[in-house]
């Protein structure tokens, strides 16, 4: 079964680059994981990064948000060099990373989790407004405000993680497998949310195992193999590329 490739409604405005990774390399001990990655996310764009397990997708995001420091190359965000920045200063600049897995604070209440998201913000009114917006976006959270985060189901935790990241008023969102381990129906809802966030102008770099879903959402896509970029181009084109369909879409597209 072939899903129709829905073109993103608004054509991406190919303007100023928000995030530029240039020739990035990364090591864990002596093992080289990234071998010179160059990747750009432009204003208003939704870019996805595909690749098999262990290709280095998560590592790319970790380097971009300075949780892990690249061994070579550079990370530029809004024109600033962040290659060696301290992780907590990166968030202050508006680059927010939602990591792989359930990364919420299990013993904090949902409300407190959201408050933590806005840690670096000082505008009380804005925070309150965004909190309301998040609770509208994810109504489940509103019902459970006083409940410990750890009591949510996996999918709900993923929503909380997303909401918490948005509380930081990001200028760029890095999403690592937001639908991992989540039932298809809920995954669709999360996908729809991601798209609507992007339509409102938020640039997003999305890592996904579900290539079909990712290519449907994204303007452009990069394919990572063994730590280097094997292909990139408009998502609609890649979705029809035989190499991509064979490797990531399971069969002859």
């Amino acid at each position: 079964m072939v899903e129709p490739v829905v073109p993103p409604s608004a054509p991406a405005p190919a303007t100023a680059p928000i995030l530029e990774l240039h020739n990035l390399t990364a090591h864990f001990g002596h093992i080289q994981v990234l071998r010179g990655i160059s990747l750009t996310v432009n204003a208003g764009e939704l870019v996805c990064l595909l690749g098999s397990n262990g290709a280095g997708k998560s590592t790319t995001l970790l380097c971009a948000s300075a949780i892990h420091h690249a061994s070579g190359g550079s990370v530029r965000f809004l024109g600033e060099d962040l290659t060696r920045a301290a992780a907590h200063t990166v968030v202050a600049r508006g680059l927010v990373h939602v990591p792989e897995g359930r990364r919420i604070f299990p013993k904090l209440t949902i409300d407190e989790n959201l408050i933590m998201g806005a840690w670096l913000r000082r505008d009380r009114a804005g925070i309150a407004r965004d909190r309301e917006r998040m609770l509208d976006l994810f109504p489940i959270l509103r019902d459970r405000l006083r409940q410990a985060g750890g009591t949510l189901s996996g999918g709900e935790q993923q929503m909380l993680a997303l909401a918490r990241a948005l509380m930081a008023a990001p200028k760029l969102l890095l999403l690592d497998e937001p639908t991992m381990g989540i039932a298809p129906l809920l995954a669709e809802r999360i996908a729809a949310t991601i798209r609507s966030l992007n339509r409102d102008g938020l640039p997003i770099l999305l890592v996904e195992q579900n290539a079909r879903l990712a290519l449907r959402l994204a303007h452009r896509a990069y394919v990572l193999e063994n730590g280097s970029i094997a292909m990139h181009g408009p998502a609609a084109e890649l979705a029809h590329d035989p190499r991509v369909t064979a490797a990531y879409l399971g069969g002859e597209g």
Binding site: T89, P99, F105, E112, W119
Partner: protein, 322 residues
């Protein structure tokens, strides 16, 4: 056994227990955020008590009625308590900054051995401090012997002169220091932004960093708060027990850490509960078996409790970082 007897036991146990609890809070907060048994914490209390005694000497508070301050001991205490708290905070911050922080990414045992080293260094500093030629230290001829702390507060029974149960000014001081501090700490950790962030760091430091939290700064803050509590506990201990010695850091520290473990380590109400339990057990043992047996009974209680509740009285499943 009559009511008065029991009430006295309760008062004594609670007072001792609250001092232990105040120290235990420092252990448990630090443990919650960096998973380290900060062995130096008890010795910080000891150093604070040394400072307290030194200041008493320098301000002439040991000669009752000689100076204006000596005639107004509550004012003197209002100066000494913040001084000791600041000092404790400064020492705790320094220890973390100099000794622990560079080892943050190394295995637990490495940091733990460093903590033991810090404990040795600080308790030795306390020993040397006790050798200073001051009148309050008996001229410093015997650095290791216990130094008695002069009574700042008048001895009187707040329950009335003819009451069988004794609740003196010292007990009142301990209650007056510990209870408000514990309430303030609870409020801070539960309700303030910083408190939430502190709990967040304890639960998941990486995620906290992804929110833009400066985890190192927050860890420092934890040490500072713990150190300040230790400084206050030093005043409470020295006033209530009336002696100061360089080994008090170990003795009080072990009791406090036991309290933290008993309550469930990392858990603030647990630390207070553990402290109270130990204080009461100590008081009861001293009364019925003699003070030689207090440690034996306290540790037996600890072991028995852990056999039935491996994560302490209020603790939940502990996570193990490898």
């Amino acid at each position: 056994m009559n009511g008065a007897f029991l009430s006295q036991l309760l008062i004594d146990g609670t007072t001792t227990g609250l001092v232990i609890a105040l120290v235990a809070l420092g252990y448990t907060m630090v443990y919650g955020i960096v998973e380290l048994i900060n062995f130096a914490h008890g010795d910080i209390v000891m150093l604070g008590a040394m400072l307290f005694l030194t200041l008493i000497g320098l301000l002439g508070l040991d000669h009752a009625g000689q100076s204006w301050l000596a005639r107004h001991p509550w004012v003197a205490l209002a100066v000494l308590v913040p001084a000791c708290a600041t000092f404790g905070a400064a020492v705790a911050w320094t220890v973390d900054r100099v000794a622990y922080r560079p080892l943050r990414h190394l295995p637990k045992l490495t940091v733990l051995v460093t903590a033991l080293g810090c404990s040795f260094v600080i308790s030795n500093l306390g020993l040397l401090w006790g050798g200073l030629p001051l009148a309050v230290f008996g001229g410093g001829r015997a650095p290791s012997s216990p130094k008695s702390v002069p009574d700042l507060l008048p001895t009187l029974n707040l329950l009335g002169a003819d009451s069988v149960v004794f609740l003196g000014t010292k007990e009142a001081l301990v209650l007056g220091l510990c209870l408000p501090l514990m309430a303030a700490l609870t409020w801070f950790v539960r309700c303030t932004r910083l408190g939430i962030a502190m709990r967040a760091c304890a639960q998941n430091p990486v995620a906290a960093r992804l929110m833009g939290v400066n985890v190192d700064a927050l860890i420092s803050l934890t040490f500072v708060i713990g150190g300040a509590l230790a400084g206050v506990a030093a005043v409470a201990y020295a006033t209530y027990h009336g002696t100061v010695q360089f080994q008090l850091g170990y003795n009080l520290g072990v009791m406090a850490f036991t309290a933290a473990v008993l309550g469930g380590i990392g858990n603030l109400p647990g630390a207070v509960l553990g402290g109270l339990v130990i204080g009461l057990v100590q008081a009861a043992t001293t009364l019925w078996l003699g003070s030689d047996w207090t440690n034996v009974v306290v540790f037996l209680v600890l072991i028995l409790t852990l056999v039935f509740r491996p994560n302490g009285l209020l603790g939940t499943q502990m996570r193990e970082k490898v």
